[in-house]
C-alpha cells in the first residue's frame, strides 16, 4: 500500500486534516492537487451520455450507493427518470458520520471527479442544475468544495450549481432531511411516504447520492466498464473508499478494490480484536471474524456484517466493545432529531441500558428489547442503525456482556463495581 499523504484544507478554512492513501482509480494522482486544471490534465470533461446508455453502464458493473445503504444506482436512476419530467440532482457531501472521512478526502483531493459524475448524471436526466450539500462542521471541506464549484463556472456555462450547508448533526445527511434543508426548512428527517427519487425536492424526482457514488460514475464513464471492472471481483467490480481507524493514528482514507482480504488491510492485533465495521450505525465483528472475510458486500452480509459508509474502527488494546458501544449509543441518542416518540424516548433508554450493562448490571435483555422496540418506528433509520450496533454487540460479544454481569471486564482487565445507574437523561 502506498504511504498516506496528509491533506490540509487550503487557506484558513479550518479542519479537518485528512490522511489519504493515494490509490489507483478514484484516489489516483492525489499529490497533483485538487484544482480543475490538474484534474483536466488527466481526465477530459464528462461526455454527454444519453440516459439509457448511462443506466446500462452503471448496471453492467452494479454501481452501488456509497452513503451506507448500498442501493443499486441504476435502479435509482431509472426510478427518478420515470417519475417525472423535471428532475433534480443532489450530491451529498454532508458526511454526518463523525468518524468517516472519505467524502472529506474526496472533497480535498478529487472534488472534480465527484462534480464530473454529478454533471454526467444531471445531463442524462435533462437537468441543468446540480445541488451540492456541504458538511456543517468541516469548514475546510466546505470551502474546498465551494472553490471547486467556482472553478467549474468558467469551464461549463450551462450547468448551474446550488450549494447548501447541512446542519451540524448526525442525521443532517439523511435524504429527506436534505430535501427539507434545500426547501428552506429545518435540516431534519420527515416521514417518507415515497423515496426522494420519486418525490423529493419541490415534489420532483430527486436523484440524491453520496459524493463517492458520483465519483465512481465519472470514473466509469471516462474509463469504460471494462477498465472499471479491472479492479475488484467479477461479482463486485470496482473499488471503494474506506476510512481506516485504529492504533492511535489518524484515520486514513484508503481506496480498496472489492474482494481485498481484510488481512491485507488490518494488523494482526486489529483483526484479532473487536472491530466496528460501518461506522456508528455499523456492526461489530467478533475477534478474528474478519480474518476469513474480504471487503465485499455479499461476503460481509453472509457473516452478518455490513460495510455501511466504509468506516472501520478496530479497538485499541484495553478498549472494551461494551464500553465503546455505550459511548456511541449515548452520542447517537443525543443526535436524535427528537421528532419521533420511539426515537426520542427509546434511544436515551437504550443508552442507559447499554451503559448499565457496561457497568456490570444484568440488563442486556432490556437493551435487546429496546433495540427491537425502536427499530422501524421512526421517520428515518437513525434508531434502526443505533439498534443494529447494539444488537451486533450483544451477539458478537455475548461472552463479554456476561462477564460484565459477573463484575469483570475482559478487555480492561479490571473488576467492575456495579454502581446504580442514575436516570442520567
Amino acid at each position: 500500500m502506498s504511504a498516506a499523504v496528509l491533506v490540509r484544507p487550503a487557506g484558513d478554512g479550518g479542519g479537518p486534516v485528512v490522511a489519504v492513501r493515494p490509490g489507483a482509480h478514484v484516489l489516483r494522482d492525489v499529490p497533483a492537487g485538487p484544482s480543475l486544471a490538474a484534474h483536466r490534465r488527466r481526465t477530459p470533461p464528462p461526455p454527454k451520455l444519453p440516459l439509457a446508455d448511462l443506466v446500462a453502464r452503471v448496471r453492467e458493473v452494479d454501481v452501488r450507493g456509497r452513503g451506507g445503504a448500498g442501493f443499486p444506482f441504476a435502479t435509482k436512476l431509472e426510478a427518478a427518470a420515470g417519475a417525472g419530467r423535471r428532475r433534480e440532482v443532489v450530491v451529498n457531501l454532508s458526511e454526518g458520520e463523525p468518524v468517516s472521512f472519505k467524502d472529506a478526502a474526496l472533497a480535498l483531493t478529487r472534488p472534480h471527479l465527484v462534480l464530473d459524475g454529478a454533471v454526467l448524471v444531471a445531463r442524462a436526466l435533462g437537468s441543468r442544475v446540480v445541488h451540492v450539500v456541504l458538511p456543517g462542521d468541516r469548514p475546510g471541506v466546505a470551502a474546498a468544495v465551494r472553490r471547486a464549484v467556482d472553478e467549474r463556472g468558467r469551464e461549463d456555462r450551462r450547468t448551474r450549481w446550488r450549494v447548501h450547508r447541512a446542519a451540524d448533526r448526525f442525521v443532517a445527511g439523511q435524504a429527506h432531511a436534505v430535501v427539507e434543508l434545500m426547501s428552506g426548512r429545518p435540516n431534519l428527517p420527515v416521514t417518507a411516504w415515497q423515496p426522494v427519487a420519486l418525490h423529493g425536492y419541490r415534489g420532483r424526482p430527486t436523484l440524491l447520492s453520496n459524493a463517492e457514488t458520483f465519483a465512481h460514475v465519472a470514473l466509469l464513464a471516462g474509463a469504460g466498464a471494462v477498465a472499471y471492472a479491472g479492479a475488484g471481483t467479477d461479482e463486485e467490480p470496482g473499488t471503494r473508499l474506506l476510512t481506516l481507524d485504529g492504533d492511535g493514528e489518524r484515520p486514513t482514507v484508503t481506496e480498496v478494490p472489492h474482494g481485498t482480504p481484510w488481512e491485507d488491510l488490518l494488523t494482526d492485533d486489529a483483526l484479532d480484536g473487536p472491530v466496528l465495521v460501518g461506522g456508528y450505525h455499523g456492526t461489530w465483528a467478533a475477534p478474528g471474524a474478519l480474518r476469513g472475510l474480504t471487503v465485499s458486500r455479499t461476503a460481509m452480509a453472509a457473516a452478518g456484517l455490513s460495510l455501511g459508509a466504509g468506516v472501520v474502527l478496530p479497538l485499541s488494546p484495553g478498549d472494551c466493545p461494551v464500553h465503546r458501544t455505550a459511548a456511541i449509543v449515548a452520542y447517537l441518542a443525543g443526535q436524535s432529531a427528537r421528532r419521533c416518540g420511539p426515537c426520542r424516548h427509546g434511544l436515551p433508554a437504550l443508552a442507559d441500558a447499554v451503559r448499565a450493562t457496561d457497568r456490570g448490571l444484568d440488563v442486556s435483555a432490556r437493551a435487546g428489547e429496546l433495540a427491537g422496540l425502536v427499530t422501524g418506528r421512526g421517520a428515518c433509520a437513525h434508531p434502526d442503525g443505533t439498534a443494529r450496533t447494539v444488537t451486533s454487540m450483544l451477539a458478537a460479544y455475548g461472552d463479554e456482556v456476561a462477564a460484565h454481569a459477573g463484575g469483570e471486564c475482559g478487555y480492561r482487565r479490571s473488576s467492575l463495581v456495579a454502581r446504580s445507574v442514575g436516570r442520567g437523561r
Binding site: T191, W193, R339, G341, L373
Partner: protein
C-alpha cells in the same frame, strides 16, 4: 397487494386512540406510542379506516402496496 397501517411518526403524539379502536393490530409501547403488529386483513379494514380517522393528529394512514 397488501394493506398496511403506517404511522407518520413526527405527527404522532402518543395519544393512543388508535389502539383503542383497533386493539387487534395496534398496541402501545411503554411511552404510549403505537406498535403496529401486522398487515390489515380484509375483515379489519373498516376498523382500520376508523382508527385512521380517529387519530387526533392524522398520524395514522392506511396504505396499499
Amino acid at each position: 397487494m397488501s394493506t398496511r397501517l403506517r404511522v407518520d411518526w413526527p405527527s404522532c403524539r402518543g395519544r393512543g386512540l388508535c389502539s383503542e379502536v383497533l386493539p387487534e393490530l395496534i398496541s402501545l409501547d411503554e411511552w404510549g406510542y403505537p406498535v403496529v403488529h401486522d398487515d390489515v386483513p380484509p375483515e379489519l379494514l373498516g376498523l382500520a379506516r376508523e382508527a385512521a380517522r380517529t387519530c387526533p393528529t392524522l398520524a395514522l394512514r392506511l396504505v396499499t402496496r
